[in-house]
């Protein structure tokens, strides 16, 4: 009986089970340790969640671009982090001009909307250009080829911005109306973070409605299900792909603007880490799946913000925030091992090789 069981369980299975148990024990032990210590009052946990949601909604907006391009082309656009950077960086010049002239504080709503528009338009323009110049000529080639092209495009954009604007950072001007906090339902929340949350939710709802309700959105979904069949039905495949790139990039541009609103510093390399984190979020939620990317981003944000305390502090690990990235990427590894299609599942109608 036992020997037959042993035969059925391969070494890999045993290893994975052991891994699952170890992870579970560590997580539960850490959580119990933290909760039993009662060092952190309830308000602190609410703060962690709010910080996590605001960071996570930025990840989610960027993740949408990864997921839309993957859904339609089965390709990871590794230059997407740089698309995010280029929007934020270019919009800085407008924001700085507004800041210097004092217009930013006289008309904060108008000027922030203009800055947002500049960020979104720049990102969109760059992504559409990238698609035309770097990806479309390679569309028929093996899957690895556009991937390498994307990495090349990513370097190109980074060093182009470095060449034009220098290797240092630029600081966005402070917006006076967004300083301080608002009390919403008894929770005091930073104004910038409230704006980020609201804007991100609106963007995501808009995107979802666009993909699910409009004719263009339907065409995009059709292309992502079966490109040849969609073409035979009279759908302009190239147009659907360009629109997927453009919409994803405009979300990245908006994310760049929101990022700059919260963190103020922009530099040529700023897209790298958020890009990787957003890619993690997209995989976490199930790549190719639009609600999955949103959920994955929010999840990742909350885990990064509360995870170090929740899991590591209780284990007696000092300075747990140094290990924030470890938590984020461990989560990615765990998802890839135990649920390779992500939380919401990869949305593929036909399994593709």
């Amino acid at each position: 009986m036992q020997s037959s069981l042993m035969r059925r369980l391969s070494v890999v299975d045993l290893y994975l089970w052991a891994f699952r148990i170890v992870v579970l024990v560590v997580v539960v032990w850490g959580m119990i340790g933290t909760i039993m210590a009662r060092r952190y009052p309830g308000e602190v946990w609410i703060d962690f969640v709010v910080y996590g949601l605001s960071q996570g909604s930025i990840y989610a907006l960027i993740a949408l671009g990864y997921t839309m391009v993957y859904g339609i082309l089965r390709m990871i656009n590794f230059a997407h982090g740089e698309v995010f950077m280029s929007g934020a960086y270019t919009a800085y010049f407008v924001a700085a001009a507004f800041g210097r002239s004092g217009y930013l504080d006289r008309n904060p709503v108008v000027s922030l909307l203009v800055v947002l528009a500049v960020a979104m338009i720049t990102s969109t323009a760059i992504a559409v250009l990238l698609e035309r110049v770097a990806y479309r000529p390679l569309r028929g080639s093996p899957r690895l080829v556009p991937l390498i092209a994307a990495i090349g495009a990513s370097f190109f954009l980074q060093y182009a911005f470095r060449g034009f604007f220098g290797s240092g950072f630029q600081a966005y001007p402070e917006t006076q109306v967004l300083k301080g906090t608002w009390a919403i339902a008894g929770i005091s929340i930073l104004r910038t973070q409230a704006v980020v949350l609201v804007a991100a939710v609106l963007m995501m709802l808009g995107l979802y409605a666009f993909v699910m309700r409009t004719k263009t959105g339907t065409a995009m979904r059709a292309v992502s299900e079966d490109r040849e069949a969609a073409a035979l039905m009279g759908i302009d495949v190239d147009r659907a792909i360009v629109i997927a790139f453009a919409v994803g990039a405009s979300m990245a541009g908006a994310a760049g603007f929101l990022y700059a609103l919260v963190f103020k510093q922009v530099h040529f390399f700023m897209g790298f880490i958020p890009g990787i984190k957003a890619f993690t979020a997209a995989v976490l939620g199930g790549i190719g799946n639009i609600p999955g990317a949103m959920l994955g981003g929010l999840f990742l944000g909350i885990f990064e913000s509360a995870g170090p305390i929740l899991f590591l502090d209780g284990l007696g690990i000092v300075a747990p925030y140094q290990l924030k990235d470890v938590i984020a990427f461990t989560m990615l590894v765990m998802v890839l091992i135990f649920r390779p299609s992500g939380i919401m599942g990869e949305r593929l109608v036909v399994k593709k090789a």
Partner: protein
């Protein structure tokens, strides 16, 4: 076959890990009139004498490297651009303020046999792996701004034999910062943050030790990674311990984020903020914005009372040459490092009848270590046997305005201690 893969992977991994250290060691040599166990540099008549810098001249911490490079450039100009009849050529590499950048810069410089000596690095994280690479190639390096205690600790090992510094040891800076917090500000509870770099970790360690010894309490010793942007969760954790002060001796980008975000976290609205010399730059004022007003920095004392009239002359030259105030606190240390190197070269170089110059590398290193009562801008320098040459003078500054146009160390940020 499957079994073979592991050893091969191991070998590859070892090669990758050990790669930068495969710099050929300098052989003992006799060239012209000079015999030296580490090697000899020959400079033909009329050819230039090469000095290298490895500093952070790009990226968010570029102000640190540009500041020290200017110090070295002014030293060369003061020498009339010539040493022993050879024009001085200053070449250099960006070292990125991290270990990888330090290894890359040092490996590139180590391959250049013409380099007589180097000035650098800026960040201690670069020097920890970089200095041994240079010394393996026989290049002695003098750092103007590395302050981590472990670089000149007695147990640092022979691979650091070619390393010296004109910057203060953080044993001094951490102590001054802690004494200021406890005795002058009369604070009893402090929290610290470091970024995992040898500089920040060492400095907050000394601060913590001194602060506890004085009778204070350390409520938390947190850490972040230098590329982090969202510090609020970490600050929220710190706020739970209710500190009176946060000491975060890190670098410009992450330091700017902490400064901006600290006041936004509930419970930290009245906490005092203090940084160190790594963020003492107008670029930090840009990164932190108005949130920097009121915060403290420990940094080398560059006031006229501490440094005397020679520094005033230097400042005038600096203003004339670059049209702005120094960007960071280590230009004078870089000037001294360059002058110390020039003095040592003059001491050991030998000329032959044809006018060629020969410099023994070990002899140069020994001459630098033998530096005694050297009158520099930063004081009277004497090197101990572990390469600490500084005459350390640390002050505490308070920022009055975050406007980078008003940057004038001593007035803004204003020197308030001692």
């Amino acid at each position: 076959m499957k079994r073979m893969r592991i050893p091969i992977a191991l070998v590859v991994a070892l090669m990758v890990a050990g790669g930068p250290y495969f710099v050929p060691a300098a052989p003992a040599a006799t060239v012209g009139p000079v015999t030296d166990p580490v090697g000899v540099v020959k400079i033909a008549k009329g050819a230039s004498l090469t000095i290298a810098y490895w500093m952070v001249v790009a990226g968010p911490d570029a102000s640190l490297g540009i500041d020290t490079r200017r110090g070295a450039e002014i030293a060369i100009a003061d020498k009339g651009g010539k040493l022993l009849g050879h024009p001085i050529k200053l070449i250099g590499e960006d070292s990125g303020c991290n270990a990888e950048g330090g290894v890359t810069a040092a490996t590139k410089l180590a391959a250049n046999k013409a380099i007589v000596a180097a000035i650098g690095s800026n960040c201690s994280s670069e020097a920890v792996p970089g200095a041994p690479i240079l010394w393996k190639a026989g290049i002695v390096t003098v750092s103007p701004s590395n302050t981590a205690p472990k670089l000149t600790a007695p147990d640092r090992g022979p691979t650091y034999d070619g390393y010296l510094r004109t910057a203060h040891n953080d044993k001094v800076q951490g102590r001054v910062a802690a004494e200021f917090a406890y005795k002058v500000l009369k604070l009893k509870k402090a929290a610290t943050v470091h970024d995992g770099s040898p500089y920040a970790e060492g400095l907050q360690g000394v601060f913590t030790e001194t602060f506890k010894k004085l009778g204070g309490t350390i409520t938390a010793q947190e850490a972040i990674s230098p590329t982090d942007t969202d510090m609020r969760p970490m600050l929220t954790k710190i706020a739970v311990g209710k500190p009176d002060m946060i000491y975060y001796p890190i670098f410009i980008s992450a330091g700017g984020h902490i400064t901006r975000q600290a006041k936004e976290v509930s419970g930290l609205a009245n906490v005092k903020l203090m940084g160190a010399d790594g963020m003492f730059s107008p670029d930090f004022m840009k990164a932190a914005g108005d949130a920097a007003v009121g915060m403290y920095h420990s940094s080398p004392d560059l006031s006229p009372e501490a440094l005397g009239p020679a520094y005033k002359v230097f400042q005038e030259k600096h203003q004339k040459k670059y049209g702005e105030k120094p960007l960071a606190p280590f230009h004078a240390h870089a000037y001294d490092a360059a002058m110390m190197i020039f003095a040592a070269i003059e001491k050991v170089a030998k000329k032959d009848a044809a006018g060629n110059t020969y410099i023994g590398r070990k002899a140069l290193r020994d001459a630098l270590y033998a530096t005694k009562n050297f009158k520099g801008l930063t004081g009277t320098l004497t090197c101990d046997k572990y390469g600490d040459c500084a005459d350390p003078k640390i002050a505490v500054y308070q920022t009055l305005s975050a406007d980078t146009a008003k940057w004038d160390p001593g007035k803004n940020p204003k020197k308030i201690y001692p």
